[in-house]
């Protein structure tokens, strides 16, 4: 893997993300890249389910939100340091995903998609009523938790670099799985699950495994994100819109590709951010986003990567 050019492309992306805002202490750029990191992490991991195994998961936000809750709650109620809280969030949410997965992965197609919507709404409603997590008011953590990092300003940088690392890990994970036997099995499931099973792909095990894996990094990013915010509430943590956006991003970028999904996530976030803050477009930002999306869906059916591949066939050898 190390000898492939794509390995180094990912390394370059991580380096650029880490270095650009750090040079000249550009806090504003850092903050806009934070959301890009979140989107790339969410979309890349969703892509494991959606692009590889062909399962539409509206519930990717649950991993993010639950990760956030577990991490913030451990820090707040049990005074855990950040790192073990993050790991607990990652492993805890993965374990939960395995339990959810065993139930709903028996469903296919639209039914699976529906069940994941049910999970988002159910978990949000649960969090709104669960008093240890503050119910609908959520959990605030005192700014004092930033002290071990040397203050809020320093902590924000540390968290940012951690998020970039998680994003990088997501890209390597996507790439690694894609070029592995596991990935081949997933792609086969995505194309034709019955045929894959008959060819010997252990479909239930692979599906459960990928669902579980795709929960890990989003949960950690959720932990970092809400720790950074020092505040978490159910309506933000389990926002169905963000899940839908992640699906949109995968399809925009080209599902099943590593580059396309990452690029799609980056462009989508930057575009939304621009429209939202642009004085000219702000009033119509939703409409414009909708029109742009429609144009892309109608006229670039195979997504960004499909377009790039067909225009520059040689990129297919380099970009996964």
């Amino acid at each position: 893997m190390v000898r492939r050019p794509f390995f180094w492309i990912i390394a370059l992306v991580i380096a650029v993300f880490a270095a650009l805002p750090a040079i000249g202490n550009n806090v504003e750029m850092r903050e806009s890249l934070v959301l890009a990191c979140v989107y790339i992490t969410l979309a890349s991991n969703l892509n494991l389910m959606l692009g590889y195994a062909g399962y539409i998961n509206f519930g990717s936000i649950v991993f993010f939100g639950l990760g956030g809750y577990i991490c913030v709650w451990l820090v707040y109620a049990h005074n855990w340091p950040l790192l073990p809280s993050l790991l607990a969030a990652g492993f805890g949410v993965s374990a939960l995903a395995l339990i959810f997965g065993l139930g709903i992965l028996r469903l296919r197609g639209h039914f699976f998609a529906l069940a994941t919507i049910g999970i988002v709404e159910g978990v949000q409603a649960f969090a709104e009523n669960f008093s240890p997590w503050g119910g609908s008011s959520g959990i605030y953590i005192s700014p004092a938790v930033f002290k071990p990092f040397g203050g809020a300003a320093e902590a924000l940088w540390v968290i940012y670099f951690a998020m970039v690392a998680v994003m990088g890990a997501s890209l390597y994970l996507s790439y690694g799985i894609k070029s592995s036997k596991f990935g081949l099995g997933l792609l086969a499931i995505g194309q034709n699950e019955d045929a894959a099973a008959i060819l010997g792909v252990p479909t239930p095990f692979y599906k459960a495994l990928v669902y579980c894996i795709s929960a890990f990094l989003p949960a950690i990013t959720g932990g970092l994100y809400f720790f950074k915010s020092a505040f978490i509430q159910p309506s933000d943590a389990f926002d169905l819109t963000l899940s839908t956006e992640a699906i949109v991003i995968c399809m925009l970028g080209g599902q099943g590709t590593v580059t396309g999904v990452a690029l799609g996530a980056f462009l989508y976030e930057e575009l939304r951010g621009y429209l939202l803050t642009s004085p000219t477009f702000a009033d119509f930002q939703l409409t414009i986003a909708g029109v742009l999306l429609l144009i892309i869906v109608l006229f670039f059916p195979s997504g960004l990567m499909g377009f790039i591949y067909s225009r520059f066939p040689r990129t297919q050898k380099v970009l996964e």
């Binding site: 539409i56 028996r106 469903l107 639209h110 998609a113 049910g118 909708g290 109608l298």
Partner: protein
Amino acid sequence: MLGFIASIIDGVLVGLVYGLAAMGLTLIWGVMDVINLTHGAMIVAGMMLLYLLASALGLSPYLILAPSLIGGFFAGIALYWIAIHRMTGRPPLMSLLSTFAVNLVLVGVGTAVWGTALFNVEVSVPGFSLGRYTFPGPHILAAVLAAVIAVGLYFFLHHTRTGKAMRAVANNREASELVGIPTTRLLAISVGVGVALATVSGTLIGTLFPYTILSGDSYELKGFIVTVLGGFGNPIGALVGGVALGVLEGAVTPFVPVSWTLVIEFALFVIVLIAFPGGIFTRRRGGL
């Protein structure tokens, strides 16, 4: 005890409306395998039409059902040509994206024009009372109309040429094409009918509660549950699914805090989905 009975009756009434609100969603889903994410926005369009016509022209809300039906039908045809027609033969659920995009546009324009202000249309229809519990007239009328519309749709699907052809397309699109059914026109009509159902249900719901530009979302979400309970594309199933949901809400509310109703609803939703993929009230998928 009387309170419990009242809750159940209330559940049936509101459930019929849920069923109506879900019917368009499940029809389009059943016929063409498209999850129409503009459904909520179209419900709101029906509500807005009600507000505009009722307050500007002073029309009776129930007269507005006619323009709502016709307008919805043409909006649906337009939706088909804009967002759905080109998606045939693409990877599954691409239509999810295109309808999501159209929904953004609709909500964006709606918010720019109306904000998220609340609209209220007063309707006076006498209701009836059971002890201290009152069932408002508009509610009863809406429930009855919902049932009438569902039965009408059932007859349309089973006893008209177009309806039968729609069912044929739902069962097997390729075979229908082979026997000479003009599928494209039929699919366009299906989306038209589906959206017309959404706008009509919006107009009816508008007579029950005050609403905002975002009110459609929760009905769309309920529509998903109803679809799972009642099966795809089956108007009677949707009605039964809606009533089941309404009665569940009514039966649960007296005993648990209302905020837990949603948790129970969605937990049940997932369980039902796993236990009966394809709906409790239909025997198999595509059984229009």
